[in-house]
Amino acid sequence: MRYTLLLHYPEMAGELDEAAMQEGQRAFAAYTAALQGAGALIAAEVLQPSTSSTTLRQVDGELRIQDGPFADTKEQLGGTVVIDVPDLDAALDWARQAPNIAWGAVEVRPGAVYTVEGEWRPNA
């Protein structure tokens, strides 16, 4: 069963010193190494700050392209980790170990379908 861990946290990139940044990177590296070692990691991605985001939407049939994130909130989606584990308890166990739990929230969302080589498959 696939779950996506959505990592939400306040964006502090410009405010953090080099040591804090490196500490965060070490924590994420150790986290994904543990996931990989357990055979649970499908994919992980940490995103650039939402200031570099571009959002498209259609308003009255007309395409609007705007700079900035979809929702301008204090905490932003900062990364995703896709894992494959037996059940929600296992997913919650990994979620509580996510490094950003110390400074943000981790949302655990079960997957519905996913693609393998372009073909859709049901999550199971």
Partner: protein
């Protein structure tokens, strides 16, 4: 005859069958439907051919076939390849003559941290005990439709997020057990909650006791689970005496209490053992001290005060604070009790009830009468309000 046998089987088997059928896939709704259909089938068949030797095994077989039929037709409707979990019958190895008990797993699913606390007790009432949404809605004083929707949503969540049917291991138990105890306690609290309709809740205390004893027996060695069973059983021993009108605990005639339930509750409390007492063990011990008056004729107020002090440390609630003040009044006098009442509890009914009684004891009739009026206005419980209004009136007529 067939009906009686079916009802007996229903009481004993419903939760076990639902838990067993739902565990492999997490589909509680389908399991409930299948078990209900099996019970309906039993009513028809058993009255014709007699009750089978193993009624529960018979019900399981019928329910399982029902579940399989639904899976098959679902697979035909969608052209998608049949899910591995569904193509192999997850229950084919279950021996109908030796049905295990997965109700413990089910209780942990109902009170899983990913389930909204407000729906945990209703889920238990429905899936473990077989109450329908309308009955549960009546107990919770909400519209039937609302309760039905909330139950459906919670069950869908259990299936779709795949909340596993497992008993948490030792490491997770301290975190996972309290919400289960809390949900069962919530069922019990409903039985004396402020409400206009006093008929339904009484049986809820019985259901809460059944759940608590089931949980404690299945866990076997969890002190707080046995303590909750003791707390509810001891409180139930006084329920009959309170049926028609409210009498404060100190004024109740102990001979009206149920001696068998007191003994049963004391037995559960002994099972809880003598470790560092938790919240429910302290609350059960408080009930046991009150119940002891049936044998000794007196209430051990110093012991109650010690227990209430310990309870306030473990569970610092407004209720515990008010209860401690009442116990202090018993050992040190009403003025000491009044001084021990919390200061910021103006909207808390028990605060006004205790304050009123203590003011009356100090002889401040006017203040006491006004406080009884406040306490009466803050309760919806008909018999409690009648009692409080009577006391307020008595203080106004010298």
């Amino acid at each position: 005859m067939a009906r009686a046998a079916a009802e007996l089987a229903a009481r004993a088997s419903y939760g076990r069958l639902v838990a067993l059928l739902a565990a492999p896939t997490g589909d509680l709704q389908l399991a409930e439907d299948a078990v209900s259909a099996a019970f309906e089938q039993a009513l028809l068949t058993w009255s014709e051919v007699g009750v089978p030797d193993n009624p529960e095994g018979w019900l399981l077989t019928v329910a399982r076939n029902r579940q399989r039929d639904v899976w098959k037709s679902a697979a035909q409707r969608t052209s998608a390849p049949l899910d591995e979990r569904l193509s192999a019958d997850p229950l084919r190895d279950v021996d109908p003559l030796a049905i295990g008990d997965k109700r413990l797993e089910l209780l942990f699913v109902c009170a899983h941290p990913a389930i909204d606390p407000g729906i945990r007790t209703p889920l238990m009432l429905q899936t473990v005990l077989g109450f329908d949404a309308a009955e549960i809605a009546a107990a919770f004083d909400v519209p039937s439709q609302t309760m039905a929707q909330r139950l459906v949503r919670a069950k869908r969540r259990i299936r779709e997020a795949r909340i596993p049917f497992v008993v948490p291991d030792r490491r997770a138990m301290p975190e996972r057990l309290p919400p289960v105890l809390e949900a069962i306690y919530g069922c019990y609290s409903l039985s004396f909650a402020d409400r206009r309709d006093a008929a339904a809740p009484e049986s809820l205390a019985g259901e809460a006791q059944y759940l608590a004893v089931t949980l404690a027996a299945l866990l076997d060695d969890e002190p707080e689970a046995w303590s909750l069973a003791a707390l509810i059983t001891l409180s139930l021993s006084r329920a009959q005496a309170q049926r028609t009108h409210y009498v404060p605990l100190d004024e109740q005639d102990p001979s009206s209490w149920d001696a068998a339930l007191i003994e049963e509750g004391e037995r559960y409390l002994r099972r809880a053992g003598g470790g560092v007492p938790g919240r429910f063990q302290l609350e059960a011990a408080i009930q046991a001290v009150h119940a002891a008056r049936r044998k000794t004729g007196v209430t051990d107020w110093p012991a109650l005060r010690t227990l209430h002090e310990a309870l306030l440390r473990v569970a610092p609630t407004l209720g515990a604070q008010v209860a401690l003040a009442a116990a202090i009044a018993r050992s040190d006098g009403p003025d000491a009790g009044l001084a021990a009442l919390p200061v910021d509890a103006q909207r808390f009914q028990p605060y006004w009830a205790v304050r009123a009684a203590l003011l009356a004891e100090t002889g401040r009739a006017a203040e006491a009468s006004a406080a009884f009026d406040r306490a009466a206005a803050l309760t919806k419980h008909v018999t409690v309000r009648a009692h409080l209004e009577a006391r307020a009136r008595a203080l106004r007529t010298p």
